[in-house]
């Protein structure tokens, strides 16, 4: 396993070690606040703008332009299909999260990843969303993830890496465990 290059798996290993060391010495640097702003367009269509966030003790202003994410529903769910729907976006968030955790931890362990693909699916009974049944939850009943990795590491090393990736995954934690959500509607 070649581990002397500066950016194995495309990750700056020195910066990764530096971040871990910095947070160990000052845990307040680990406090992050992420934000999103959403504007309704029409029907099921809305646009989310994501740019600034707080972290490492300061406001981050490195993004010169915001990211804009479209949300909509497909025609069968009465939308105009301008973007994936909200529960599809959850699958994206989960995949993206698991990838980052796996790649960062692989890099820290000196494991090279040649390629990686994830397949995700989630089952949902629309009776909950339609308000037709109080006993049917509106969200996913279950989600399945298959991660296919090409690597010269052993199967045991990869399984251990996968276990760690799940343990430290923010989005997997958000999905598997309760997160308090405080909400407020204001008439303007």
């Amino acid at each position: 396993m070649e581990n002397t290059e500066k950016a194995p798996n495309g990750v700056n290993l020195e910066a990764l070690i530096g971040t871990v060391t910095a947070v160990k010495s000052d845990p307040s640097l680990a406090r992050f606040r992420f934000r999103a702003h959403n504007r309704w367009v029409a029907g099921a269509h809305s646009k989310t703008t994501i740019q600034g966030f707080y972290g490492t003790g300061k406001e981050d202003s490195s993004r010169k332009n915001p990211f804009v994410l479209e949300g909509d529903e497909p025609p069968v769910l009465l939308g105009g299909d301008a973007g994936p729907n909200a529960v599809e976006a959850v699958l994206h968030a989960l995949a993206s999260c698991l990838v980052v955790g796996l790649v960062y931890n692989a890099t820290a362990r000196g494991i090279g990843i040649d390629s990686m693909e994830l397949e995700l699916e989630g089952d949902l009974d629309l009776q909950g969303f339609l308000g037709l049944s109080k006993s049917v939850r509106p969200g996913y009943e279950g989600i399945r993830v298959i991660c296919r990795v090409k690597s010269s590491a052993t199967d045991a090393e990869l399984q251990d890496l996968w276990t760690t990736s799940q343990e430290i995954s923010p989005v997997l934690d958000i999905i598997r465990n309760p997160v308090p959500v405080f909400s407020e509607l204001k008439k303007v």
Copy 2:
């Protein structure tokens, strides 16, 4: 409140009523399976492709092209900033979901929405993701949502609408309550 137009709030009211009626008479139509495919690019960067899904008793093939969502991390989190990160994508999913539920229920109730914006923020302690503390959860400690609505409806009508929108929101349910996730890593 004008409710005789065919698409109040940009929602096809006849289709909405038709969907509810159809699912009431055959609840199996409400079973949906959503999917996502993610491919790692390099470092924290991955791309999620979203296209087909199963619902209303059949595979949906209405989308001629897939949606592609980019996931990455900002520089301070060792990424190349090719897209919002995974926990920011969660905020987008939540916003998009609440908007759809609110607009559909408003339409069913004959409430017109003139405009709507949502502000979301979530607090996260990176010590969990970095594996530096077993007592710090990797996911959000809490999320706040403020929904600002312009409408001629009364404040009481809008608050009731907001309550319903939360009760039937798939993504809010996924975030507030546990969802089982089955995962598997395969070496290829």
